[in-house]
Amino acid sequence: MNFVSLQMLTGDRAKYLGLVLAIAFSTFLMSHQMSIFAGLLERTRSQISDIEDAEIWVMDAKTRYVDEVRALSDQELYRVRGVQGVEWAVPLFKGVARVKNEEGTFRNAILLGLDDATLTGVPRRILAGSWQAIGEPETILIDRVGYQFFFPGQPYRAGGRLDVGGKWVTIGAVADASPPFVNLPVVYARYSDAIAMVGREPQQMSFVLAKPQGGVAPAELCRRIQAATGLKAATKQEFGWETIWYYIANTGIPINFGITITIALMVGALVSGQTFSLFILENLRFFGALKAIGVTTPRIVGMILLQAVVVLFIGYGLGVALTAAFFELTKDNLDLRGFRLLPEIMLLVAGVIFGVVLLATMVSVRRVAVVDPAVVFRG
């Protein structure tokens, strides 16, 4: 009877297409918005993720997320280095500097000052030049967003000149840094250069980056640093999630995306549920006839579930393909960097859309289950 079931489904082209497109639209909207949402949240911790060498971030005890820091004194660096189990600890400056090119075009940029001696945290995905170049004085690395802004239409290459915080410096390399939450250029410099670019103050160190000695668990070392210094110490993963949760709890982002995703879900559920319900209603007398002929109710329910699963698979597949196509087509757009369709989102959307549509289907199935086969004798 699977053949009969599928013929009944596809025979009514308008309703069949309506069902598939409703599910596809809902899937597309949900997966697209969830991907943008996840991408935005990933952006909030991009600088934490990009600094691959450091397992532990040390900061002021009241720090809540990476973009709002209270500067530490240089003494704190030595205190951290003195904690048992620390293999190394280096300073990190994070601030904002005004960057200007020779034509006078300017823009604020995120300025990261890396330890002069080790360059811990320097990006490794280099598009032009060499990351070792910022070991030279008055040399910076800039990400490709910044490079394209200040040198529009020019191929990536080292050697260009920029004014950062009032000091002319040379571009040593163009890096493919992860996009930050605010779509500002990211500039990397030696710690001492970065401090000079923003103007020296009594306390300027944003973070201390540390690595535990072999055999010392990062979480254990965090506890030791906190106990010894009174500062907050967190693993890279912990601090990344703290930053994400800060944005979730303190911005309208999740509410806005939540509304869109909910509307997509409701539209998908309502349209597909309503269309499927109408489809069942219009076929009720045929299902009644099948019951009268001797097809059992479980068999008929199976036929309807098969119809639902088929439109779900096709609709979901189309929707996910549309989302994937969107991100594939926009992957070179710098403003949309970091947004992509994650497998987890595909699974989540599949679970939600299958659940909702199957629920709507079950409501329709009830009508068929209770339909009296004698209805076919009533003209």
Binding site: M8, G11, A289, G294, A374
Partner: protein, 239 residues
Amino acid sequence: MGGAGMSQPAVVCERVEKSFGSGEQRLRVLRGIDLTANYGEMTFLLGPSGSGKTTLLSIIAGILRADGGTVRVLDRDLARLRNGEGAKFRLENLGFVFQQFNLIPALTAAENAAVPLLAAGARRKPAVERARALLADLGMGHRADVLPSKLSGGEQQRVAFARALIQDPRLVICDEPTSALDGAAGRHVMELLRNVAVSPQRAVVVVTHDFRILEFADRIAEIDDGVIQKIETRKRESS
């Protein structure tokens, strides 16, 4: 099955009662019906709307249960059928021709006729081939691949006959088979039904209020207000 043959009863209803609703709303639809339908015969249930003939038909088909009395169909007491057995019994032994035909619009004539075979678990290709052969016997061979929406009323009725007969059932139940047809087409359809459906191994029960087709009946049971008013047996020449 024992006893199948001319003048042996395929359907025996004794003192059959059926009511709907309860209390003051209770409506007695059948009030002690006695009826026999024999193998090799066409038994007509004749009566006006609301007389109870459709309810009786549903009970004979095992779709409704009688409140009282006994109903034996093909030597089976329908009251003793357990849940799920009724559907199997209908699928294996009964053929149906519905008033509105109820052909599935998305299936071709042959596929529609093959539905009972498919429901019984047959593979699609041989089932549809068998339906094609049966449709050819009914003069519909050239229309086997046509959708119901492209068929005339008479053609749809023949597809419905094919669907009813494809499992070679021992009892065929027809609900107002000519109500959607004009006089000539109705007569033609009844001739066809008599020729293909009536056999010594099969009984045919027809519900109708169409007096124009009574000439095809072997036995006519007139029902009104839930009671059999008259049973008339007609002698026919062997067709």
